[in-house]
């Protein structure tokens, strides 16, 4: 049965179609392996744990236009009202919203500005002692703010003195792990680290430091404020529907809008990534289909070109299985060379992408997986036509000139 040498020689003598197919297989392998890796990377990114129970949290904006009220006081009233709702677990005013793509960030340093010291970029929220509970994050070390550590003021000269930070931020500032209780500097303001949260993502998932975040207990409400509410599971929709009325009932000279779930904010932020991922999936599906069709078509073409030859082979004693085998081996040869070139091209393309975009190095397992997939697909594509070839009658040998 082993006919590999003559099949190879025959292939070498009529190679145009084979070379075209081989190039197609190489390109498919190179693109599909890289695209599959990027897709996987995006899926991991989209499905990552953010530290928040996203489906139970929502935010809304409050724009106060009434001049007859002290906003700080009004906010306390609002918070009390929200926290008393039976569906609500906790609520707080938050200067920025995680996962939303908008917020504030600064360098937190081991030395007060303008001295030079180790400094790390981090997002920060001004939020009160209900922040931890409202965001549902896990305080793993230290303690929450006490009520009197929360600075509620209209005086910008007053400064808070404590902070709660995410574990990654603390580890970056204190690699030895002795950060709890130490003082870090927000500009020139010293803040003592009193608590550490296991995980809480900043407003920017695509930031180079997406999980550096600090809570600072400072309330200085402006006419535009953002509230965050965490409800009991499955009760968020009801509260979201009611919240505008409830807020306006408390005080009416303001606008409540932008009522959005945390998951919705995240989806908006990652919409482009999702789109890219879908496009890549479509792209590689099309590529694989086109390659499969190419193999299918080339085999059909080869068969019609070689009808007489196949009949002659049958007349000379080839079993049907030998004819099928012939086309499978021929395809495996084309595919094999194509895959070798494809793997090299995949590596080169991966390096190119790594250099020009922020993409990690393509793991060899993706190339191997893609190569195996393309190989199996090519065998499947060739099998149908090969079976047809096997059914060519040996009498063709005497009936065609």
């Amino acid at each position: 049965m082993l006919e590999i040498k003559p099949i190879f020689h025959a292939l070498c003598r009529s190679k145009v179609g084979a070379i075209l197919l081989l190039i197609q297989i190489a390109i498919t392998t190179a693109i599909v392996s890289n695209a599959a890796f990027i897709i996987q990377d995006r899926v991991a990114f989209l499905n990552q744990d953010t530290g928040y129970p996203e489906h139970d949290i929502f935010k809304f904006n409050v724009m106060t236009f009434g001049q007859d009220v002290d906003i700080n006081q009004q906010i306390e009233l609002d918070e009390t009202m929200l926290r008393s709702l039976p569906e609500v677990i906790d609520a707080a005013m938050s200067s920025s919203i995680p996962l939303s793509g908008g917020g504030s960030a600064s360098d937190f340093s081991l030395k007060p500005a303008p001295q030079e010291g180790l400094s790390v970029r981090t997002a920060y929220f001004f939020i009160d002692d209900h922040g931890i509970n409202t965001y549902g994050v896990n305080l793993v070390m230290g303690r929450n703010f006490s009520e009197d550590e929360v600075l509620v003021t209209n005086n910008v000269d007053k400064r808070p003195s404590v902070t709660i930070v995410s574990q990654t931020l603390l580890n970056e500032l204190f690699p030895k792990g002795n950060g709890l209780g130490q003082t870090i500097y927000f500009g020139e303001t010293p803040l003592k680290v009193i608590g550490v949260v296991e995980k809480m993502m900043s407003p920017w998932l695509k930031d180079s430091r997406p999980d550096n975040l600090a809570f600072i207990p400072y309330i200085n409400a402006k006419s535009l404020a953002q509230f965050v509410v965490r409800t009991k599971p499955d009760q968020r929709d009801a509260v979201m529907k009611e919240v505008e009325n409830l807020m306006l009932k408390n005080y009416s000279k303001r606008v409540i809008n932008n009522i959005k779930g945390l998951d919705e904010l995240k989806n908006q932020y990652v919409a482009a990534d999702k789109l890219m991922m879908r496009m890549l999936i479509v792209l590689i599906t099309i590529l694989v289909l086109v390659t499969a069709l190419g193999i299918f078509g080339l085999t059909l073409f080869n068969i019609s070109k070689r009808t007489k030859q196949i009949g002659t082979r049958r007349a000379l004693g080839a079993r049907k299985s030998a004819i099928i085998y012939y086309f499978l081996v021929e395809n495996a040869m084309i595919c094999g060379v194509g895959l070798i070139l494809g793997c090299i091209a995949a590596l080169l393309l991966g390096q190119l992408l790594m250099q020009h975009f922020s993409i990690a190095a393509l793991p060899p397992s993706y190339i191997a997986g893609t190569a195996i997939m393309v190989f199996v697909m090519s065998l499947l594509a060739v099998f149908g036509p090969a079976k047809r070839a096997a059914n060519i009658s040996p009498s063709i040998a005497t009936r065609t000139i």
Binding site: S14, A315, T398, R399
Partner: protein
Amino acid sequence: MLKMNNISKLYQTEMVQTHALRDFNLHVDEGEFIAVTGPSGSGKTTFLNIAGMLEPFSSGEYLLDGIDVGKLNDNQRADCRNQKIGFIFQGFNLIPDLNLYENIEVPLRYRGIKASERKRRIEQCLEQVGLASRAKHLPQQLSGGQQQRVAIARALAGEPRFLLADEPTGNLDSLMARQVMELLEQINRDGATIIMVTHDPELARRAPRNIQVVDGQLADFTLYQGAQNLKNVAGA
């Protein structure tokens, strides 16, 4: 060696039924050289295809070497063709992408003969047809006569007991045709049974036994030559 009893072959197409063979009876003994003649469309190729197991027949009985061909499955027929029968075609039917050596190797590979033995046989057969120096050439680099000699070498390589040739000289000029005929006669002297379809009366006359197919049957006035063949008539 070959016995056909009441073989019929019916081609069924959408519009017409063609009785390519009707109650065809023929006995062939080991070592015979038979030339088959007859008008175009009379069923000569059909007869040869059935004899070579390239096509099934509609009814009747066909025994080759005592084997009931009608009872063989597809793989068995392929193996039987491979082992017992050598084919020579009007169009030579060499595989264009294989060189001469590889062309002759094709049936030997299907038989699973090992490489050293294949080499021995191929070289011997190429020698026999006078093309030993051209083993690495491709078919298109040869003249028609040379190509047909390669095809004969391919048919011989498997050392078949039975050679079937459908107008082997049909595409050749008379000089080439005579060379091919001489080669076939030599092969016959070496022991192979040959059935050759031809339109050339001169070549047919050189064969010891002539049969004529007319309208799907052996013609009544078929000439039998030699006592051995007379015996066959009695047998039929």
